[in-house]
């Protein structure tokens, strides 16, 4: 399995379930958006390395380093 960091882009509107340094598991919901929306989920288990706000797209770029 690749160990390269993965960047997920999620809506910046909602409260995030993760913060930098958190361990996430595959399939874990990343924000608290409305139930009818397709929730962004962690595509791998790993550690949240960074969360950057992208103003232009009004999104967070969440970088996850996959677990070795």
């Amino acid at each position: 399995m690749s160990t390269e960091p993965i960047v997920l882009r999620v809506s910046a509107t909602y409260d995030l379930n993760v913060k930098v340094g958190d361990r996430v598991r595959l399939g874990e919901r990343l924000h608290k958006g409305p139930n009818e929306d397709r929730h962004p989920i962690a595509p791998v288990s790993g550690v949240v390395k960074s969360i950057e706000f992208d103003a232009g797209d009004h999104e967070f770029a969440i970088t996850i380093a996959p677990a070795a």
């Binding site: 909602y14 958006g33 409305p34 397709r38």
Partner: protein, 426 residues
Amino acid sequence: MRWIIIRTAQRMRSIGSFSPAVRHFSIVVLLMSVGLLAAAQPSPPKVDVNDLSFYQPSAETTARLQTTGKGVDNVIFCIGDGMGLTQVAMARVKSTGLDGKLCLEKLPVTGLVRTHSANSSVTDSAAAGTALACGVKTKNAMIGMTPDEQGYRTILEAAKDKGMATGLVVTSTISHATPATFASHVKSRKMEDKIAEQLLANRVNVLFGGGKKFFLPKSAPKSGRKDDLDLLAAARTAGYDYIETTEAMQSLCGSYVLGLFQLEGLKTVAPEPSLAQLTGKAIELLSRIRPDSPDGRAGFFLMVEGSQIDWGCHSNKANVAVRQTLLFDQAVEAAVGFALKDGHTLVIVTADHETGGLTLIGGGSEDKADAQLTPRWSTKGHSGTPVAVYAMGPGAGQFAGVQDNTEIPKKIARLLYIRPFPRPTQ
């Protein structure tokens, strides 16, 4: 959900697999490229987010007098994106002290606004803007239409149909969610290329902001479009004066002007025009437009957005939020200055939502009370707390009390004798 694997590290590592000579050559070429790029680009303006010297606090804290008994000719609708009550308080404490007042806080009428959207107790700017512009609830991310994709006429479009001049002034891209909701109808806020087309097709008289990239054909460097439409050329053909600098803005005098000062959002620092300068110029231009009405004055509708308060709050950076709130307050001051002289201008100041779940904690001491106030953020996203509305001018009293965000454009419509409102586009 989109995800992208970072490949830069892989590329850098791949250089390591070449012979030392090739590796050295590659690195030199890479460094030269970076150096040449740096030399070719003018250095970007520096923003000192802690420097608030641009803001001159007023010693006067009494409320502006309420104007009564006059009809509304002009409406200046100021929206602080993400500007909750605490963002206002924090900017006040930082700039004027605990007992001071921002310009917007001196408006004589205040109320509270509920902000939930059709699908969430926490709105985004698209749904909130649609509520503030069209008077209807929609789902987050949708622009100028209800969840079933029925377009609704915006208060700006209705004002234009009435013969009023119209304008949008922002510090984001001009096609960002909030300005988009006043003059376009699309399923998603991400469709900024389509939004840009609709802003021009709607013939908004004054368009000031960033986002030039959405007006450039895809063949142009740094274009944000997926097609070959050259909207700058189209704007000129349609009679717009197009400008990109403060100097060019100052000499503008036409009835249709498009000012795009950055490819993306504004930097909010000189040599760009400030939001207050943009607002002042927009008011000057809009108040000069004389339609073919019998009395020669049909008035204007102007929306001004302090777009980047939200951006500072998403990053949980209090100093950025304060600076952007004060820049916005200066724009409000420009609007209020005109309204006081004119007497027929309604100024409304509100927010689309709060961002960051910001509170100020701590108590302070007798000699230095404000020094102990510490900002504390509860989220990096938006919150569902109500926001304030401040108003002055004829009809301002309508905005007192607790109201839903959809009620605000309905009240403006009533004051402008626009009926029916809300109204589907077709």
